[in-house]
Symmetry: C2
């Protein structure tokens, strides 16, 4: 383990902050370090130049007789500001109470390195791998993976695989593994209500000219039914049902109202009747107002009837729903409810598909069994309320669902000062990787 | 009339733009020109230094046996931008098709000068005035009269009077005079809805944490009943009734839906059922949203649950209603309707009292008769939907209701390029002033 940690610390010491243009050399250094490390492990590896930081691809000696698993990770990390809140230099890892403290310790160098070290141990201790392994490590995840889609498309044949594994999510808690089996999609729109041709004096026109801010509020207030559900006709029509046993399992998870309230700092939870807190986030679509703009917004008062009012809207979607279809329903909903004293314009900005990631495939079953073996309990099959765009990329370009095996801890402080990864978690990650291979 | 126009044009040529600090000398020049003009008419006059442009006070030879009428006007004018849209130099008056074109031609040099010339003619032609006249001409009306209240208070005894006359409003149309008998008041508030302690990721929290922008919209949508009335309990309790014959007279005015729509550029009128367009503006209180702010307001999308949402609100009030009482009702209304998943804060910014200005006093009856004599028809007894803060000042400090005799034309383009005042209107204003005096 000493050699593993030494090697891991070398990886952590490279300040590969993709958001910082001054770190371009570090990005190249990190990619080259990975390439050399893969070669030392016995894999073929190449650094692929990109418009931004390079992509590193490594592959085991291939065999057409074996299935292929692609492991995705990212070697770029978040910026470290504010530096004063760190207990150590974020690029000089230390171990404190069993925790490795460093930027990237969990996200995503730690989780990625657990796989690398697992492969290395397998090759050293057992020789040939039971599957072909492809590692695809990018350096732009923290800045939105702007070039990954093009890279996947250009290397589609070379990256052909039977499964994609990503370890960039979280466990439920210490010793409680999880596989993320679903992500919500999204549809983003904007609604603009226009009334008079300009802001009007509210004394001269107030009472006789419709107020666009009032009409916008009236329309937005119709978005939800009294039970908290979205009141747009047809909104739920395509929602796929979720198995009762899947929902039942979530009720025992040690995460819910208390933890959500603490994280949000809100006075009380809210949401759709008939669903628990996690269900509302994981498997129920929502309508959210992301922003409001109208009239005067400075200090004091300005007594006008505003010329227009607008709202940014986003709809979190669940498997079965299609972003553009939802956008259409939203447009019809608002346009049909607009009074004739104003005009209403609904524009579609962008969308992302929701996804269900079946954890019961051959590879999913192997991962579940491996997690159960290493952690002593079977993984929770959870969901996430957000989108992970790279998952959509792998589905769209490579035609493969990702297997999201989170090795991070919920309190790992990723993106924040004093990011950490337990040494024990690194060891268990290495063990999981080998247990997974052993089951294939 | 030639001498009158020459003198009026001298007054118009002084570029007394109160908003422009570079015109400070012109403000003093204009005040001094007025003082000298009053003296030449036979009145005692003084220029009172102020923190800004001076106040000019002139008075006729006083007699304790006579009643006193104070005539208020303002010698400052609006800026002239955009200059390119003017057909002439705004400070070099010309007469075109019977219209005097110049900045201030109507607002307020023209209307003020009609009174001055009327007094001058009376003194020259008939000698002693039937009342004591005080002229109070300020130079800060266009910038909100920031110092007039203090001036009135400091000169309360000297300005003691039986009536205040102001000519700074409009006639109904050519040959159709008007007296403005009521102004709406106002109460300005802000409502802020707070939810989570910061903007939250809508994927991680959307569906379980109340969205402050949604809750604000829900609250604002309750402001009005389906019939367009304000739904706040008690809102109309103190509204004083308006005589049916007063309302009936307004139905024949040549101003309504068509003119309002043209001015506002809105698709259709809106407002409270059971009241005509002018009634909705003149005698009905309203609730207006003047501005909305929440979350992300830039280009594209940002998928957040905003930490807060706020709205600027103003309520136009009618005689009987008290701004602070209305503010209290608004606060109770929103606070009692707030769900416990957010906090709601309603803050009162400022208010102004509505006023009814009785046109049937001794002076009002004289003004009505004088207008009828000069224009050949009795004046419409109208209202305005806005506040005129100086009217409140005269009520509060001097205890006198103003008599608002509008000599401006509705199409006078005050505050805009090519402001005009018909020569005929100047002549009729002079005649009105004398006819009014003759009736006292």
């Amino acid at each position: 383990m000493k050699a593993v940690l030494e090697s891991f610390f070398e990886f952590l010491r490279i300040p590969s902050i993709s958001a910082d243009p001054a770190r371009a050399d570090s990005m190249n250094d990190c990619a080259e370090w990975l390439r050399a490390h893969f070669v030392s492990m016995g894999l073929a590896a190449a650094v692929h130049p990109m418009p931004g930081p390079p992509v590193v691809v490594a592959r085991s000696a291939g065999s057409a007789a074996k299935k292929t698993v692609l492991i995705y990770g990212h070697y770029d990390v978040q910026p470290v500001d504010p530096l004063t809140l760190w207990r150590n230099d974020p690029f000089e890892p230390v171990v404190e109470n069993g925790l490795i403290l460093a930027r990237g310790a969990t996200d995503n160098k730690g989780q990625t390195f657990a796989h690398l070290a697992g492969t290395e141990a397998w090759l050293r201790e057992r020789g040939e791998l039971p599957v072909n392994l492809i590692y695809l490590l990018e350096g732009e995840e923290e800045i939105g993976s702007p070039n990954l889609g093009a890279f996947l498309a250009a290397h589609r044949d070379e990256l052909k695989c039977d499964a994609v594994m990503i370890s960039d999510t979280s466990m439920v808690g210490p010793g409680f593994p999880a596989i993320t089996c679903g992500l919500r999609g999204i549809a983003c729109l904007e609604i603009t209500v226009r009334g008079p041709k300009m802001d009007l004096h509210s004394g001269m026109f107030g009472g006789v000219i419709a107020n666009p801010a009032q009409e916008l509020a009236n329309l937005l207030a119709q978005l939800h039914a009294p039970d908290g559900s979205v009141a747009i006709p047809g909104f739920y029509d395509d929602v796929l049902p979720v198995a009762e046993n899947e929902r039942a399992a979530w009720r025992d998870l040690p995460y819910g109202e208390r933890e959500l309230l603490a994280a949000a700092g809100a006075p009380a939870l809210a949401g759709e009747a008939g669903y628990g807190p996690l269900e509302r986030i994981w498997i129920r679509p929502t309508a959210e107002i992301n922003g409001l703009t109208s009239g005067y917004q400075g200090a004091g008062s300005k007594t006008i009837v505003p010329g227009f009012a607008s709202a940014k809207l986003s709809f979190r979607l669940v498997p079965g729903q299609e972003p553009e279809r939802i956008g259409e329903l939203v447009r019809e909903f608002f346009e049909s409810r607009a009074p004739r004293s104003v005009t209403v314009e609904v524009s579609y900005d962008h969308g992302g598909n929701p996804c269900y990631l079946n954890p019961h495939t051959e590879f999913g079953r192997a991962a579940q069994a491996a997690l159960a073996e290493v952690f002593g309990r079977p993984p929770a099959l959870v969901r996430e309320g957000l989108s992970i765009p790279i998952v959509n990329l792998f589905q769209r370009v490579l035609g493969r669902d990702a297997l999201l095996i989170g090795l991070g801890m919920p309190d790992c402080r990723s993106h924040a000062p004093n990011e950490s990864f337990p040494v024990e978690q690194l060891e268990k990650g290495i063990a999981f990787h080998q247990a997974f291979l052993a089951r294939l």
